[in-house]
């Protein structure tokens, strides 16, 4: 067999193209589907009015949190206010994920994680579009892009509105960002979320939680919200002035914990803190 130079180049090109196409896909997993929240970890920490346990709050973040009264949610302007995208990391709900594709080549344009009760939908743009200008509008859903790093889906969220990390009032600012990684192992999906906030967190906040692929249909939890009178006095914003929050020690008393644990001091998140603690229930 004798090939001309052009023929050899052509053959080489075909080989390279075909082999590159034949290479195993980068193990990107199927993200779309229904994922049930496993719910074996306590992430929400919202059973008592003052519970910032497990958060690395700045002094400013702690002070702001202590002024918060959950009665603010009774104000008509807040009743239908959805939680910020960070609720995806802290809330206990299923993920209903759909994939949107472009019509010619079928490439993935975005994933959408459906709304759930008081969380708005999250659209993860996969088409390489940039994040908006820093002057662009901040919204309840924020702006999220995604990319694959091997078999890990990595998303990045910006342009959030200011809000609360938990029902109990620890805040995040509108300059906070969230980077989330999704690892899939069989039918288990693990979400790693890292939230950074230059104002209210002393260091990046890290959460992980797991989901299982649903075997049965997961009912949607999108609820219509209609504002109504819930007892809030027009013109008043329920709050606590500095040093007056009456619930500041409720959790400490209930569980026998130092106040700094409940108030989200960053040193309490590391094993070394155990040595500093004196006594508690069962110890």
């Amino acid at each position: 067999m004798h090939l001309s130079m052009v023929g050899r180049v052509r053959v080489a090109a075909i080989v390279v193209v075909v082999l590159s196409l034949a290479r195993p896909a980068a193990a990107q997993f199927e993200f779309s589907g229904a994922w049930n929240y496993v719910g074996t970890e306590d992430l929400s920490n919202d059973s008592l009015p003052v519970d910032y346990m497990g958060l690395p709050l700045t002094d400013e973040g702690r002070a702001r949190a202590l002024t918060y009264s959950e009665s603010q949610l009774s104000m008509p302007e807040h009743q239908c206010e959805a939680w910020p995208p960070t609720y995806l990391a802290t809330g206990g709900f299923a993920l209903l994920v759909t994939r949107q594709t472009e019509p010619i080549k079928g490439a993935t344009v975005s994933y959408t994680i459906a709304a759930w009760s008081d969380r708005v939908p999250t659209v993860i743009w996969m088409d390489g579009r940039p994040h908006p200008s820093k002057y662009a509008l901040h919204t309840r859903s924020g702006f999220t892009t995604g990319r694959w790093e091997g078999s890990t889906l990595v998303t990045h969220t910006t342009h959030m509105k200011t809000g609360n990390l938990r029902k109990t009032g620890p805040p995040i600012s509108d300059e906070a960002t969230m980077t989330t990684r999704y690892f899939r192992h069989g039918n288990v999906l693990t979400m790693l979320s890292v939230i950074e906030d230059p104002y209210y967190l002393t260091e990046p906040m890290v959460w992980t939680k797991s989901y299982q692929l649903a075997e049965a249909e997961v009912p949607s939890q999108v609820l219509a919200c209609i504002t109504t009178y819930e007892g809030a006095t027009p013109g008043e914003v329920p709050h606590y002035s500095p040093e007056t929050n009456p619930f500041i020690d409720e959790m400490s008393r209930k569980y026998g914990l130092p106040r700094e644990v409940v108030l989200g001091y960053p040193e309490t998140l590391y094993p070394d803190y155990r040595k500093k603690m004196k006594s508690g229930p069962g110890r």
Binding site: S4, L19, E41, D42, G256, R283
Partner: protein
């Protein structure tokens, strides 16, 4: 036209030959390359627990009977309600909460090293425990142990480590006596992620299955920050009074 057809024939032949060569190399590698050499990620180093979840279940001992979010069977609840740390201590069972199914939830530092080219070793300073994660087949020890018998394998595509542990002694999932039985199986997935300026996070997704004490798998994910060195390593013995 004939030339194009001939080119394609040649190309197909080359692809087949190349693919065959790659397959052969792959087989060869499976024999020659050790688990250490084949590692798709580097888990070695010192890692510290970053306790942002389940704080009151991990950093302190919850009250007896507080087994919130653990899907216990009635047998499991009964056993948890009968938790007696003093009895554990006097029976020499003070390591029951430091077994494989809970040790990575115990706040502390973990040192991961290659014990040999086919065995990863995980040392925990809190409780002074050692896990050996074996890539090479080995028969389980005759006696059960707190850390059990762990078989490791790489998931190269996912860039992840999978570990399946059996042959454990019965232990606790939490400090307050929430039990797992000696028939439990622990499956773990180790994943890495970049963090901050050159830092790393380790995420371990643990799945505990126990036909005796759990109604369904108990799945928790734990995360750790990588530390520069072992300067904060502080071994302490097991205790039943955390």
């Amino acid at each position: 036209m004939r030339r194009i057809g001939r080119d394609i024939t040649v190309a197909v032949a080359m692809i087949v030959l190349t693919a065959a060569s790659l397959v052969a190399q792959g087989r060869g590698n499976a024999v020659v390359r050790t688990a250490q050499a084949a590692a798709p990620i580097d888990l070695t180093g010192y890692w510290v627990s970053f306790v942002t979840e389940d704080w009151r279940f991990r950093m302190v001992t919850p009250a007896r009977g507080d087994y919130a979010r653990v899907p216990l069977t009635s047998d499991g609840r009964k056993t948890a309600d009968g938790w007696n740390p003093a009895a554990d201590e006097s029976a020499g069972n003070q390591c029951k909460a430091f077994g494989a199914a809970n040790i990575m939830r115990v706040p502390g530092r973990f040192h991961i090293t290659w014990q040999d080219p086919t065995t990863l070793r995980v040392d925990a300073d809190t409780g002074t425990q050692t896990r050996t994660l074996r890539f090479a087949p080995a028969a389980p020890a005759a006696e059960r142990s707190w850390q059990g018998h762990s078989i490791a394998s790489w998931d190269a595509a996912a860039r992840s480590l999978k570990v399946v542990t059996t042959n454990m002694r019965a232990g606790y999932l939490r400090w307050n006596g929430v039990p797992y039985s000696e028939n439990a199986t622990l499956t773990e997935h180790f994943d890495l992620a970049p963090h901050g300026d050159g830092g790393q996070l380790l995420v371990i997704t643990a799945i505990v299955e126990d036909p005796q004490y759990l109604q369904r798998p108990f799945i928790v994910s734990s995360h750790f920050k990588k530390e520069r060195d072992g300067s904060k390593w502080s071994p302490t013995p097991c205790t039943s009074r955390w």
